[in-house]
Amino acid sequence: MARREYPRPSLVSAEAPPAEAIPDFKARALREGPSSPGAPPTWASPEFGAIYEEHSRQIYYLALRFLGDPTQAEDAAHDVFLKAYRKLGEFRGESAMRTWLYRITINHCKNLLQTWHQRHMVNNAEDNLWETAAASTESPLRVLEIKELGQRIQKALHLLPQEYRLLLLLVADRQMSYDEIAVLTEQSVDAVRGKLHRARKAFIAQFQKFA
């Protein structure tokens, strides 16, 4: 698979720069504060803004369907991109950027789920949070359809083992090969194929229950 080359962020330095050394666009972003939700964001690092634009949909989607909670998924996606920005200097391009971001997302989401289970928190995603999951630009009919389909998918995924859920979400990404999924989930390609076969059957069985 052809790998895309990413430019390194221009804002990298060993020490925090003095105030007068902060580039104009970064100073502007800090000075202006939150921009209006309708306007595109002002990126302190345009290179990282491009990375966000390319991968945010898939990262948010993985977090959404893995955690099953739109609000938590938004928080998780935010934390993932912030971690990625902080660690971008460690990214050597040995894997695809998407794979690297997925690794951060999976670790972050697994930690969150572990913490939730330890605290015995009740997942109330089904009660009220799906209202925010659909895109605001969609027509009501379209939103209704997306919500219904999304709810069915989420319910079916929620009843699968965590590993099956993750494998199905990863293989659904056209950019991810079986080899990359195997590396990402730390198992052989044959194991991925076998588990995916069982995961598909389990998903179909659960999905049909909610018809």
Partner: protein
């Protein structure tokens, strides 16, 4: 009252029902295809981009990458 109105309403209602049925009756060959469709329809919240951009703007800067350290060492030595 226009006598055609109830008929027109009924026709419109039938069209809407058919439209919903045609949209929801779409079939997918595999779970992956279904999930791809779901992912294509699911946009990250618009506020997320702003949150990430604002958080990054507050970052003091990350450490230099290996290739930057390597290039600066070469420049110093030469």
């Amino acid at each position: 009252m226009n006598p055609k109105t109830p008929k027109l309403q009924q026709q419109q209602k039938q069209e809407t029902t058919e439209e919903i049925a045609s949209r929801t009756a779409r079939e997918f060959a595999s779970p992956e295809e279904l999930l791809r469709h779901d992912a294509d329809q699911t946009s990250p919240p618009r506020a997320l981009a702003h949150r990430v951009a604002e958080s990054i703007a507050k970052e003091p800067g990350c450490t230099r990458s290996w290739w930057q350290r390597w290039f600066s060492r070469r420049t110093t030595n030469s």
